[in-house]
């Protein structure tokens, strides 16, 4: 069942939780609402689920228009952040609940319920735990019971509020993959809320990036990571270095770095920011043409990769560089070493105009040359 959200607004007192949200969720998709706390993602989820009422705007299901909606139709499965399992009921009773409370004529027989619950428990890999109570289960197990319980009513839409938030990192990883696979099998339109960008990128078909009540970008995981629509999205998904500068004489100037923007018409004086991801910075100990000199200030080995902080002369903010552990071993990079760096794929964000993607095919950029002040154009 597809969902269309039109011009949704919601305020709590003076706080704007949602501002003019327009969104379309195609049928059968697995969508992540991603954003920091206070971005409005949980509010949006709850409004879709009917647990809160918007100040204005509509949530339309399956192409219909609805003014007043009852919970009963469409069938929505909701998984709460803290699972909200019925603490005094066994796993079996929890999962069977939605079936047992159906009005008499729609209620399945006891036998049918037993079969259905067994099926669901098998689906979530919790067979044999029917008679346990929630406080006897681990976090991951409780999560799956909550999911099974929501699935029991055969929902047309499945909503999950920070489903993996309270779990250990390892369990989270397993469940993430498992959720993706489950969605593949069941094909129910699913929306989940998360503040963990890694989770959103790994699990979802579409990612809706939200911030302060607004939708910043909607796209596939690849799109939002590789082609962020604005600085917020850039920063929120993955690490990024930002270097601030200004446009002067048709060039983007960042302290001692310059890029020629001939071919783009941008007024002088505008602010611009260069964005480059840490793993898109090349770093060597040998000087070479078109490389910028820098000094390593910190080294952080983290598992399979090594993070370095380098300072470029004339740039106040250190640049973060992310390299493989293997390369680090080979290169002999260490603290206080003099190094040379190049930006592989910088994107320049110009205030008011959006991003400029620079094609730097040879991996070089405009370098500062203090003595001669020569400038090299980018090919």
């Amino acid at each position: 069942m597809s969902i269309e959200i039109k011009a949704l607004n919601k305020k709590y007192g003076n706080f704007t939780a949602l501002h003019e949200i327009d969104l379309v969720i195609p049928e059968g998709e697995l969508v992540a609402l991603l954003g920091p706390s206070g971005s409005g993602k949980t509010t949006l989820l709850r409004i879709i689920g009917g647990m809160e009422i918007p100040d204005s705007g509509n949530v339309l299901f399956g192409g219909e228009a609805e003014a007043q909606r009852k919970i009963a139709a469409p069938r929505i499965g909701f998984v709460f952040q803290n699972y909200a399992l019925f603490r005094h009921m066994t796993v079996f009773d929890n999962v069977a609940f939605g079936l047992k409370v159906r009005p008499r004529r729609l209620r399945p027989s006891k036998k049918e319920i037993r079969v259905k619950v067994a099926e669901l428990l098998k689906l979530v890999q919790l067979e044999g735990l029917e008679n346990r109570y929630p406080d006897q289960l681990s976090g991951g197990q409780r999560q799956r019971v909550a999911l099974a319980r929501a699935l029991a009513i055969e929902p047309q839409v499945l909503l999950l509020d920070e489903p993996f938030g309270a779990l250990d990192a390892k369990v989270r990883q397993e469940l993430r993959r498992w959720l993706r696979q489950l969605h593949h099998e069941l094909d129910i339109t699913t929306i989940f809320v998360t503040h963990d960008q890694e989770e959103a990128l790994e699990v979802a078909d579409q990612v809706v990036v939200m911030n302060q009540g607004k939708v910043e970008q909607v796209g596939t995981p690849w799109e939002v990571y590789q082609q962020p629509a604005n600085p917020f999205v850039y920063q929120f998904l993955g690490q990024v270095n930002q270097v601030r500068g200004r446009i002067q004489d048709g060039k983007a100037k960042f302290d001692s770095l310059e890029w020629d923007l001939s071919g783009y018409h941008h007024p002088d004086g505008k602010e611009c920011i260069a964005f480059v991801r840490p793993h898109e910075v090349e770093i060597t100990t040998e000087p070479a043409a078109q490389r910028l000199q820098a000094r390593v200030t910190q080294v952080y080995p983290v598992g399979a990769r090594v993070r370095l902080e380098v300072e470029i002369k004339g740039n106040s903010v250190p640049i973060e560089v992310d390299i493989t552990e293997e390369y680090w071993q080979q290169s002999g990079l260490a603290q206080n070493r003099s190094v040379f760096i190049a930006f592989k794929k910088p994107r320049i964000f110009i205030e008011g105009s959006g991003f400029v993607d620079l094609d730097i095919s040879d991996g070089s950029f405009l370098s500062e040359n203090l003595s001669t002040n020569k400038r090299v154009h980018i090919s």
């Binding site: 909200a84 019925f86 603490r87 609940f97 409370v101 319980r149």
Partner: protein, 289 residues
């Protein structure tokens, strides 16, 4: 050169030892004082009730209880509780559902109103009903027309008892239900349950121990109410006397053993109430809620 760290740590241990020895004495002195206070004010009264009741022997004890007026008083007390407690139960559940599961303005006023009987003297509680339903009361002409008697009759006693005891169940349930939150109920709703199903299947099992204690306490207070009932009852022996009033009558006639005998039944009820409370607390602690 002596290792400064070792030296100071030994001194610290010494200091700690002296401190804990002093602390040990302080501890036991405090415990002693507290126990003495409690002994004097709590244990003694309880013990004395049974002691005095059995002063004249067990046969007198049983006879006092079996005596017709005493039996009538016991019957009236039970009847009053049987009406007051269920009514207050419904109220308690309704009030705590509204207050604990929803957000609305004016909750504080509501809570204050519910706490009111605690702040009002029992005598005044009884007085209010006399002013309403007594001979010169607001509803007097209406009552006369239908030949109904409320004050100086059983209905008045029941009403006064309901007033004085209605907060107990609510006050027990409200914090309990507030602490439990609304998520389970919301989840039940999302799964399609209607109001009654939500209450009976999800909420009730979670509050059952608190509810039990509230009912037991409400019952104990209802059976033991004295001041308010005293004003309203008219003290007609065998007809409008509850157990506490009967105790008063016996006492004023210097029939001490009999008075304490009847009183001992109420004291037993109090003890049962306390035991139930202990069980409830043990059960809720065990569940880890």
């Amino acid at each position: 050169m002596a290792n400064p760290i070792l030296v100071s740590s030994r001194r610290q241990t010494e200091v700690v030892n002296v401190a804990s020895k002093k602390e040990g004495i302080v501890r036991w002195v405090l415990i002693g004082m507290a126990l003495l206070f409690l002994l004097l004010f709590l244990v003694l009264p309880l013990v004395i009730v049974f002691y005095e009741a059995l002063q004249d022997g067990i046969e007198m004890y049983l006879a006092s209880i079996a005596e017709p007026d005493a039996q009538a008083a016991i019957a009236l007390t039970l009847l009053t509780a049987a009406i007051a407690v269920p009514l207050n139960l419904v109220f308690g559940v309704a009030a705590s559902w509204a207050i604990a599961k929803f957000e609305f303005r004016g909750k504080n006023i509501l809570l204050t109103l519910i706490d009111l009987p605690f702040a009002v003297s029992p005598v005044i509680s009884g007085l209010m009903f006399v002013l309403l339903f007594g001979m010169e009361g607001m509803f007097a002409p209406w009552l006369e027309a239908y030949n109904m008697k409320i004050v100086f009759a059983v209905p008045g006693i029941v009403l006064a008892t309901i007033f004085v005891t209605f907060p107990f169940i609510a006050r027990e349930l409200i914090p309990l239900m507030q602490a439990q939150g609304t998520e389970e109920e919301e989840a039940a709703r999302m799964l399609g349950a209607n109001g009654w199903q939500i209450f009976f299947r999800v909420t009730l099992p979670n509050i059952k121990w608190g509810l039990l204690y509230g009912v037991i306490l409400c019952n104990a207070r209802a059976m033991g109410e004295f001041g308010a009932v005293s004003v309203v009852s008219g003290h007609i022996r065998g007809l409008t006397n509850t157990m506490p009033l009967h105790v008063e009558i016996l006492y004023n006639e210097y029939n001490f053993a009999a008075a304490f005998s009847v009183a001992s039944l109420l004291a037993l009820l109090a003890i049962v109430t306390l035991v139930v409370k202990g069980v409830v607390e043990w059960r809720t602690a065990r569940r880890g809620h």
